[in-house]
Amino acid sequence: MGVIVTSEQVQRPRTAAQRRNPYGGTTSAVVARMPGPTRNFLVEVGGMLALLGRVLVVTAKHPAEILRPTLDYSYVTLRRCWFPVTVALGGFIVFLSVAALVFFDQLGAVGIYPPVIMRVCIESFTVWAVALVLAGIVGASLTSELGARRVRDELDALYVIGVDPVRELVAPRVLTAIALTTLMSFPAVALSLLTTQLAGAYYASESSAEFYHYVFDNLAPMEMFLAALNCLIAGVIIGTVCAYKGMNAGGGSEGLGKAVNQAVVVSFVALWMTQTLYTGITQGIFDLGRFR
């Protein structure tokens, strides 16, 4: 445990309006008049953004104290998830490669298979698969850890003894999800490069020299940067959604299970929507599809 803070410091109201009534502002009044589903959605999104904001503030204030548990937790998580991620991603890329090879082989244009498949992988499918698998594995375990503490009232106990759970428990886990998803983009792209090359060699007898020549001739560093940025956004979504759902779990084992289920489904939907938006926007801005 790090530096001990009092519970008053943890839950201190920030402004005069908050001191009078924390939900008395204009925004809260507008949200309270919304119809049920819209209100719930806005409240959830607001809670997630508030949690993310608190995590960022806490991290900026005490970077040295949070770095150590983040590294420890990242190591544990990476040990747990490297194999399933490799299997899931490898299988996904193999069938994608076979589908693309079938198509270009029939067209008599195996030469454009390498750049097209690698571009499709880097711009979308590798990032997508990594984000979904990490949401399923890292996100679900994050929610179940935090939710179990919430269900057994351990988070309240931490408040009582004057320890800020966001600083001690949530911030390292959210930062782990962000860092792991972002850093995972590099080995994932390397794995897709290897898998697509092996598929090309196995199914279409394409030489590796030709494959790598075409790939590196047609890819730009900007694509790798965009993939890493895409993974960063995905990591922020996974960490925030799953931590929020874990912190707000309730009602015994059924409530905890429901929280994990909701965390995975909500992060899936959010990831797919941001992915489509991101691809559309980056393709529109950068015009990456040109062949050399």
Binding site: C81, P84, V87, A88, L89, G90, G91, F92, V94, F95, L96, V98, A99, A100, V102, F103, D105, Q106, L107, V116, V120, E123, S124, F125, W128, L132, V133, G136, I137, A140, S141, T143, S144, G147, A148, V151, R152, Y203, G252, S253, E254, G255, L256, G257, V260, N261, V264, V265, F268, V269, W272, Q275, T276, T279, G280, Q283, L288, G289, R290, F291
Partner: protein, 292 residues
């Protein structure tokens, strides 16, 4: 009574120990490392559970038909919209990517063909499996796991009901009833997504060319293969979720951990199935009319 008589009438402690055939051998592999023993026994347990659940489907249909249709209704109301929305989103992404890759080559009229080869034969099935693992598989772990923790499963057994038949076989039958409609509507959504991007939004393909190439590159054989593939991608995560729910132990933490574990195993399994089926079905014969 003499000592000999006691021994003669005493029940042997392991009655079948000497009757076991020698070929079966010890159930634990002493020479193998611990993780191998755990994996093998876990897979064996799962297969035992899955076979029993499938074998009890006729019993479930005979005894608890209302439970089957109740759960089918729950699936249609609760899960189908999420799944269809995800597949529509996949279609949007695919249309966007096909356009960005084919525009520089000047073959945007083939956008529909790319959708037919890459999305219809693979992406839909894998992503469907992942979404089902998140929505239905995790939901089953939660539901059945909470019942297990609250000792409701034992209560069912005490009342003389078969818990596997009542809790698992009914749900699997419900998934079997719902899945064909879900899969076909999923294909439909994943065709209209790219149509929306390519024809009205980007204007890169004409309406006629899109549908012509989309249906030119698929036939009944394709439909049968991918539908069998999709059914297996739906059935396995469901069975895995039910297994991890049924074997949950250790309070809320156990349910949370099992939810995360079922997610991990389902996602890797769906990818492995994809690799095997694409190899079996399309590894040698592309089953497409170009150049034939």
């Amino acid at each position: 009574m003499s000592n000999e008589a006691t021994e003669a009438f005493a029940r042997p402690r392991r009655p079948h120990a000497d009757k076991r055939p020698a070929s079966i051998g010890p159930t634990e592999l002493d020479w193998a490392p611990g993780w191998a023993n755990r994996t093998i026994s876990g897979v064996g347990d799962f297969l035992d559970f899955a076979l029993r659940a499938v074998a009890l489907i006729p019993h479930a249909l005979r005894s608890y038909p209302s439970e089957v249709f109740r759960y089918a209704g729950v699936l249609i109301r609760g899960s189908s919209l999420v799944v269809l929305f995800m597949l529509f989103n996949l279609g949007l992404e695919a249309g966007l990517l096909a356009d960005t890759q084919f525009r520089p080559l000047g073959i945007t009229s083939l956008n529909g063909a790319a959708v037919s080869v890459a999305i219809f034969r693979g992406c839909v099935q894998v992503l469907l499996g992942w979404v089902i693992a998140a929505k239905i598989g995790c939901g089953l772990v939660t539901e059945i796991g909470a019942m297990r923790i609250n000792e409701e499963v034992d209560a069912l057994e005490v009342m003389g009901m078969n818990p596997i038949s009542y809790l698992v076989s009914t749900r699997i039958m419900a998934v079997v009833i719902v899945s064909p409609g879900l899969i076909i509507m999923g294909y439909w959504m994943s065709f209209w997504g790219p149509w929306l991007v390519d024809v009205p939004f980007l204007g890169s393909t004409s309406d006629g060319a899109f549908w012509n190439y989309l249906f030119a590159l698929q036939n009944l054989t394709d439909f049968i293969i991918v539908t069998i593939w999709a059914v297996s991608s739906i059935a396995l995560p469901t069975l895995i979720g039910a297994y991890f729910g049924y074997t949950a132990k250790g309070g809320p933490v156990g349910v949370g951990e099992n939810t995360a574990k079922s997610m991990l195993i389902s996602m890797a399994t769906v990818s492995v199935i994809a690799t095997i089926i694409i190899q079996l079905a399309y590894g040698v014969d592309a089953n497409s009319p170009i150049g034939n």
